[in-house]
Every structure is written in C-alpha cells, then in structure tokens.
C-alpha cells in the first residue's frame, strides 16, 4: 500500500518544480518529473484501466499544481486582492431584524457624506429584484419585507471602505418589527414527533406567518419501499439534532465589478459556478449575457458557501450606477450572514432488525431548516431524503423529509449536502441496534452494508462498486494508535497545555461510521460541462491549452485538467486558461462532480483534437493506420512504432475543439414512493475515530481519525488524500465544535473567536487507505472524492465519544456541557 500516509514521519518527495506562466493566474507549463505512478492499493483483476499512456505528469500521478508557486509567494490574485486605479469600495447595509416590514428608507443623509458616490436601494434594481439558485425568491435588495437578520437592504459606494461603512449607518430604515418564525417544525405546524399527515403547511393554513407566497414548505420528500407495517425482533429509536455549520472558507466574499463604456459590466469574482451567477446577475440588471461577463478570480475555499451569489449583483449595480470600478470585500462578521450555511436538522429515526442482525426496516423523519430563502434546499432535501438511511440494504424503508422556510439565516449547500446531517442519525441508530443485539457495531454494518448490485431505498440498483464490507474490514485491520503511557506530555491530553488534566478522568473510546454520497447533480438535472482544447506548436514544441468555465476552489481541478491533456495528447506543456464565461458552462464545482464532469469534457475534447491529428498524419502518409496514439510528443503506431513528431504533423496548424459532455441521465423520483434512478454515482467512505475524553471537564481530544475510501481511480493521489484529510477535518469540526448559534434569528457567534473550526492542535493524524474500484460509467473509472469523508468522519468521532462516556449524545456538535451534564 503505497498510498497510506502514516503519522510517523514525513514521506519522501521528489524534487519536482513547476514554473508559473504570466499568461494567466492558473497557467503554467508542465513541471519536470512529478511523483512516479502510484500503485493503487487494490485494483480488481480483469478490469481494464484504459489509460493510453504513462505520460509524465499525466493521469494517476501527482504533478505540482500550476498555481502552487503563485500561492506560496503571495502572488496569486484572490478576489479580495483585486485593485484598480480610481476604484470605489462598496458596502452593504443589512437588516437588524429577522422579520420586519419596511415602512420607508431614507438615504439622503448617507448620500451627503463626502466621498460617497452612490447609495442604492431596491428602487435602483433595473431588472428582476429576485434571484435564487433553484427558485428565484430572494430580493437583490429588500423591498417590503426582510426575512432574516442580515438581509441586504441598501448599498453604498465610496472612495474608502470606512467612509462607505460610516455612510451606511446614516441610512434610515423604518421597520415594523414582526415576530419571527425560528423553528422548522413550527413553520409547518408539526408537533414534535406526532404522526403528521404527509403535507401540512401551517404557513398556508394561517396558523403561523406565511413567509413566502407559496407557503413555508420548500420541499417535502416522501419515500416508501416495501412493507410499511414490517415488524422486527429488535427496534431502536432515536431523536437527533444537528446544529448549523458554517463553510468558514478563509477567503471572504469579494469581487471587482468594472463597467464598460456601453452599459455592460465585467465582474471578477470568487464563485463556484460562473454561469449560474451570470444568469442571476443578468436577470437582476436586465442585461443579456454578452453584457455581463464573468471571470474567475482566486477563490479562497468554497465548500458550498459560494454556490449562491453574495456581492455579484450588488457590485455590478454600484459599478453601473457610478461608472467606476467597484470592489466589495466582506469582513468575517458579514461573511457569516453573507453566505448560506449547512441546514440544521431535527430527526426522528426508528430501525428494526432480526436477532441475526439483518435490518428489517428503517423509518425516519427529517426536518431541515432552510431559513429565509430557498437557496438549494430543494436538492438538499433530495439528498437527505434519498440517502438519509445510510449505505445499507433495507428491505422496508420509509422517509419523510421536509425543507422549510423560517426567519433564520438562509441555508443551502455545504460539503456533504444533506447526507451529513442524516449520517449522524443513521450511524447512531446502527450503534444502538448493535448494542441492543449484543453485536459488534462493525459486524452489524458489514452484514447490512451495500454491495454492487444491491438495491438502495429508492429502488436504484448500485451498478458499480459499493464495497461497504471491505471498507470496514480494512479499517478494523488498521493498527490502533498507541495507548497513553506513563510519560506525561500535556500536548497529548484533552485540554493540552492548558494543563487541565494529567490523565485523571480521561477515558478512551473508539467509534466507526460509514457513509455514501451521490456524485454530480441528480433527479433529472441536465448536468454537463464544456471544454475547449487547443493544440498547436509553440517555440518548436507542442502546446495544449485548455479552457473551461470550471472553478478551481483549491481542490486541484486545474492540475487534473493538465494531467488529462498530457495523458490524452502526449504533450508536456499544458496551459489552463483562466475560467470565464467566454466558454460554455461547466456546471458547479460542487457535488464532488467537477473532475468527473469537466474531466470528462476535457477528455472528450482531447479525443476530438487527437482524431484530427491522426487524420493529418494519415493524409500526409497517404494511408490508413488504425492503431495510432499520441505519446511523448509523437504520433505512435502500436505496430510500427513512432511515425512522426507531433510538432511536425501540426506545423502551423492550430487544432481547437469544444466539447459539451454529460454524464448518464438521472431521473426524478416518484412523488409518492420516492423510487427512481435519482443519482448517477455513489461514493463510499468509512472512518474509525479514536478519542480521549476528559469526562470531568467534557474536553475531547481526537487521537486518530482513520479513513478508507473507494475513489474509483485516483486521478491525482496527492490531491485525493488532500480531499479526504480536509473533508475528515470538517466532519470532525461539526462533531465537536462547529455551530452557528442562533437566538431569535440572530447569529450570536459571527467570528472565528466564537465560531470554532479545527486548528492543527484539534486535528489528529489521519491514516488513509484508498481503494480504486473503477466505475465503468465514469471517465477513467473515477469516483468523486470531495464529500464522502466529510460525511463519515463526524459520526465516527461522536460514536467514539459515546463509547468513551457511555452517554447517548443525540445532539451534534457534542459540547463539554453535554458530556459533564451541566
């Protein structure tokens, strides 16, 4: 197993370098020798890998990322680093109330401040004053009503950010404050856990305020499979609550809008999907796509929090209104209200099994608080509802999942997307069931785990690897971290060098969890990407250029695009152009989909380019050759060997192909039964957490967090590990520390002082095993890797804390007071 990082020491790295090109922020020439091809941990016999070459820096290797040097020298241009002569600074005035009617807005005093160039309200929105990812229900600037604390009400542009902030305080908004709805179940009129009719909407019935004209339910998902009245030998139930998590990307929402001379605008911005931003900006400005051009600037992390627009429309409004470039940069407090969060969840679960440990039924009810606007709640409900019973074979299944409006901050996409919340409940249920059966929790999971050919609760047959059993077996076989010895090192104690314990009251616990997650957009969504690949001779050498609108958020997509071009075209030098809207949509850098879908588009665009090279050569030679490939800068025949250099074949010609690529179609699920082919691919991961808990103070130290994940094909092993480690850490964060705390609709902890994310001290060594079972339906057999680890890690940590303390711990994150019982 070459792939697992052991915590013992640093691995050896080759002396690879890469040189950054000045052409674009993500452009680079190919680096010299990257890491040699990694041997996969396991490739099943008889599976063709289909890789045409062992191109240096190609697929399956870990070449240096093309933006790496710019990032370590501080030269990489993030959206908050942009600067133009004569630019203005834009700020946003936000609602101080979670629910209020706006009687009037007076901007006169703000407009009179020296240095202020514009103060705008909803009256200045020239197009549709509504936007949204799936449902346009959110005003660009509040008009009659504000529905959450932090909703944008007015904008100011000034020549210094502080002047703009001070001027914004002089805007007078007269509010009629209303009583907010802050509980998801209240919003739909459901009493806790009483049997409820399929669809109640208290907003429509007038029992509680109706927050939107279509009621308070964004989506209700109903799933029924098998016998609704099935009974079992052993039944366990549980009520679980998961708090609101923040993406906490480090680069704040920001961008620079630059007006042109003819009524249009160029927007440089950090986002996850340029074209969906463009669509919403165009609608709000009343402009066409040729007048609103978006270019990606450096993205300081995303994790779902940049799927919805933040400053995009606002910056463009100010720029068009003032005729000057306008930069907007949120500070951290504003960032907490400037993007959506992970839906908090309230869940009721009931699982039944026979004495032999076979699951008979699973029933669940989930309430997801979507907050004031829909964002991606509809799709989050889809994921929680279809996958919320976990990666198990369950003959009789029932799920009711509501996504509702409240006056809490809006919730939408975050890594794991609905599967995360449900996994805390379903995995806790498995542990409860194991305890009730007197069975080992790993064995219970193994016995019921999905496998290839199994049918999931939506009736979809899993048609590629689903190695739940093997993940668990490998995890259980990994060596355990050493126990604590007599030597006192405070740094290894819960509480660390705060010197809260010398080992007294410290208990160790071990917990396991498994998760699965869909890859790509689901339920019939037309999920595609577009790639333009150009091949030419430059400075005597072949050069490939790849242009997509796919967003690099840090995951390493730009590296993978280069790798695919190298493998498919046999070239060393690949330039990745900056993503923009001058090429077709790539879809979102979300749902673990970008390497799959944009990777697929790049691969097929390369194939078309390659075909043209073959045609050129055959024309030159005047004969047909069937076994050509591109390798090492040459056109090579399988039988005859190298026939010509690529540079010679190309000459002065430039070959350029644009390809739009789609994955297999998915289908909507049945509204009554929830059955259907909803998801194109599933990815599986499992975690084992080892924790030490100071049961007297409630402090938790995660000692080790081990993971086994099937990635189909490790396109870039180093980046795959990075995704697993990063995802595992975010799951750990939700398990023990991360929660946006809300009272009466107000966020109480909008800062990194009070909203805690894991530091390097909170994060343990993470041994990882990567399996590579190719998915025959996916490019290169790959499986999305962005999310699974973020789903299974948290439940494993909580299971370990339960094992250490014997407590039920049904509320996530687990806080010290839950452990010590105060």
């Amino acid at each position: 197993m070459t792939f697992a990082r052991t915590p013992a020491g640093p691995p050896a790295f080759p002396a690879g370098t890469a040189t950054a090109s000045a052409e674009a922020t993500t452009a680079a020439t190919a680096g010299p020798p990257p890491t040699p091809t990694e041997t996969p941990t396991k490739t099943p016999a008889g599976v063709k890998t289909e890789l045409p070459s062992n191109a240096v820096g190609g697929v399956g290797q870990s070449p240096a990322r093309p933006d790496g040097i710019l990032k370590v020298t501080g030269d990489f241009a993030y959206s908050s680093d942009l600067w133009m002569d004569d630019m203005l600074w834009g700020v946003t005035l936000r609602s101080p109330h979670p629910y209020a009617r706006i009687r009037s807005i007076d901007i006169a005093e703000a407009l009179a401040v020296a240095g202020v160039f514009a103060v705008l309200t909803h009256e200045d929105v020239p197009g549709e004053n509504r936007y949204g990812l799936e449902l346009a229900d959110q005003p660009v600037l509040a008009e009659e009503v504000v529905r959450y604390r932090g909703e944008a009400v007015a904008l100011v542009a000034a020549d210094h950010p502080e002047i703009a902030r001070q001027a914004a305080k002089k805007i007078k908004v007269d509010y009629e404050v209303l009583a907010p709805v802050t509980d998801a179940r209240v919003a739909v009129g459901h009493a806790p856990w009483e049997p409820a009719p399929d669809l109640v909407d208290a907003g429509r019935d007038g029992q509680v305020p109706q927050l939107h004209e279509h009621g308070n339910v964004v989506r209700y998902l109903k799933l029924r499979k098998g016998d609704a009245d099935a009974t079992a030998d052993v039944v366990v139930t549980g009520d679980y609550v998961v708090g609101m998590q923040d993406q906490a990307f480090l680069g704040p929402e920001s961008g620079l809008a630059v007006p042109d001379d003819v009524g249009g605008v160029d927007l440089y911005v950090a986002t996850q999907w340029l074209h969906v931003d463009q669509r919403q900006v165009c609608a709000a400005l009343g402009l066409g796509p040729d007048q609103v051009r978006l270019t990606l600037s450096g993205v300081g992390g995303a994790f779902g929090g940049r799927e919805d627009i933040s400053m995009q429309v606002h910056g463009c409004l100010l720029a068009l209104h003032t005729g000057k470039p306008v930069k907007m940069v949120y500070n951290r407090a504003e960032s907490f209200v400037g993007h959506v969060h992970r839906h908090p969840a309230t869940m009721h679960y009931e699982y039944g099994a026979n004495r032999d440990g076979r699951l008979v039924f699973a029933r669940a009810r989930i309430y997801l608080d979507g907050g004031a606007y829909a964002s991606s709640t509809e799709a989050v409900v889809g994921n929680a509802g279809t996958m919320g019973l976990g990666p198990y074979v369950i003959p009789n299944a029932s799920m009711d999942c509501w996504g509702v409006y409240t006056n809490n901050p809006p919730c939408g996409a975050m890594r794991g997307f609905g599967a995360v919340q449900a996994a805390f409940a379903s995995e806790a249920q498995l542990d409860k069931l194991a305890a009730a059966l007197g069975m080992d929790p790993v064995e219970l999971r193994r016995r019921n785990g999905m496998h290839e050919g199994a049918e999931n609760p939506t009736g979809q047959v899993i048609d590629s690897a689903a190695p739940v059993g093997e993940l668990l077996e490998r995890l259980a076989a990994m060596p355990m971290p050493p126990g604590r010895d007599d030597r006192l090192d405070l740094r290894e104690m819960p509480g660390g060098v705060s010197n809260t314990t010398h080992g007294e009251g410290v208990r160790r616990g071990v917990g396991y969890a498994v998760a699965y997650k869909n890859v790509g957009y689901s339920e019939g969504f037309d999920d595609y990407s577009t790639a333009r690949v150009r091949l030419e001779v430059s400075a005597g050498e072949p050069l490939a250029t790849v242009h997509t609108a796919a967003v690099e958020v840090g995951q390493g997509l730009v590296t993978v695009e280069q790798q695919i071009c190298r493998t498919e075209l046999g070239v060393d030098r690949v330039v990745v152009r900056t993503a923009d809207t001058q090429v077709g949509s790539a879809g979102s850098s979300s749902a673990s989909r970008q390497t799959y879908v944009t990777g697929g588009a790049v691969r097929y665009a390369c194939e078309q380019v390659r075909e043209q090279v073959f045609v050129l050569l055959q024309q030159r030679l005047g004969r047909t050759i069937a076994d050509l490939r591109l390798e090492g800068g040459k056109v090579v025949s399988e039988c005859e060997g190298p026939l010509a250099s690529l540079a010679d074949v190309l000459g002065q010609r430039v070959i350029e192909e644009t390809h739009e690529w789609r994955h297999r179609r998915t289908h909507p699920i049945d509204p009554e039964t929830g059955q259907g082919f909803a998801h194109v691919q599933y990815a599986f991961s499992a975690h084992r957490a080892v924790v030490d808990v100071d049961v007297e103070l409630g402090l938790v130290k995660v000692v080790e967090l081990a993971c086994v994940e099937d990635v189909g094909k490790a396109m870039n092993p180093q980046a795959v590990l990075g995704q697993i480690q990063g995802g595992s850490t975010q799951g750990l964060g939700l398990a023990v520390m991360e929660e946006i705390q809300i009272r009466d609709g107000q966020i109480l902890n909008p800062s990194f002082t009070d909203y805690l994310i894991p530091t390097i001290l909170d994060t343990p060594p993470m041994p990882i095993e990567v399996l590579e079972y190719p998915d025959p339906h996916a490019p290169y057999g790959l499986r999305g890797v962005g999310e699974p680890s973020a789903i299974s890690s948290g439940p494993a940590v909580v299971a370990a804390i339960r094992a250490a303390t014997g407590l039920e711990l049904a509320r996530i994150p687990v806080r010290p007071e839950h452990i010590v019982g105060v």
Partner: protein, 166 residues
C-alpha cells in the same frame, strides 16, 4: 497621516493613512502587497502573519501607525517565483497548498518556527502553528511540508543553524 515603513528591505511611504487603518490594510491596499491575507481581520486565523522587527505578528492587529519607522517582512519578502525559499518549495511539493488562502501566513509562521527550532517534531509543529487556521487540508500535508523544509534547510546549513531567508 504619512507613514514610513521598511518593507522587505525597502523604505516605503504611504500618504493619507486614516488613523484606524491596520498594517494589513496599508500593506494590501496602499503598498501593493496583497500576499498577506484578510481572512478574519481579528487575529484569529494567522493568514496575515508577518514579521515586525523580526517578531511574528498578525498584521491585522497592528495599527498602521505602530509600524512607523519599523521593519516589516511579508511573504513576498521570503522568496520569489524564480527563487523560492525552501519553506515555500516544500509547501508546493508536499501538497500543503489547496485554496492557498492560509498559505502565506503559514509560510511565514513556518519560517519563524524553523528559525527557532530546526528539527521540530509533530507535537512542536502543532503547538507552533496553532495560530494559523487552514480550512482545506486538515493540516496533514502542512506537517509534511514543515518536515520537508526542515530537512532541506538543515542539509543546506551543515553547521546546524537554519538559514534565515534566502
């Protein structure tokens, strides 16, 4: 007010600085040095870490006026694309860079750590870098990068003293 600071060895002046501006704002918006990052602007994340008279500080917590007449070294002063500092090189190679927003601060903090302690073990690395938040990597590859840089710096300075800068 006017401020004069020595930044990365050069004397720099900024005019019309508002009294409330931080050193971070002056570096980023007035001196054209956006390498120091603005993630939290309240000293929690370490992404704006710089040296002030040789001491590691968060530039967001230093009022611009406090830097008057003093010496500042930012990530831009540690190395360049043509001549990376071994710490920078190690971060690229080890895969310690994803979105990269924390990277400049971590590079400066690692530079400081290795100057004080040429061979830190994992526990010492964790204690020393605890003031730098990273949201992407889970820190594993950052620890790898520190070890890699430590090894190379030691190899380059057989007398045992870690090199200060390039």
């Amino acid at each position: 007010m006017r401020i004069e600071i020595t930044v990365n060895g050069r004397t720099r002046e900024a005019d019309d600085v508002w009294e409330g501006e931080s050193l971070l704002y002056v570096l980023r918006e007035r001196l054209g040095l956006p390498g120091s990052k603005n993630a939290c602007e309240q000293g929690e994340c370490g992404s704006c870490s710089v040296y002030l008279d040789g001491v590691l500080v968060c530039a967001c917590l230093v009022a611009a006026g406090q830097a008057q007449g003093r010496e500042v070294v930012t990530v831009e002063g540690l190395g360049s694309a043509e001549r990376l500092h071994p710490v920078q090189q190690a971060f690229v190679e080890a895969g310690a860079v994803q979105c990269g927003f924390c990277t400049p601060g971590l590079v400066v903090a690692t530079h400081d750590l290795l100057a004080r302690s040429p061979h830190p073990d994992d526990a010492e690395i964790r204690e020393s870098l605890a003031g730098n938040l990273c949201r992407c990597t889970g820190y594993e590859k950052i620890i790898d990068a520190v070890h890699l840089a430590a090894g190379r710096l030691t190899a380059a300075a057989p007398s045992g003293a870690a090199e200060e800068g390039t």
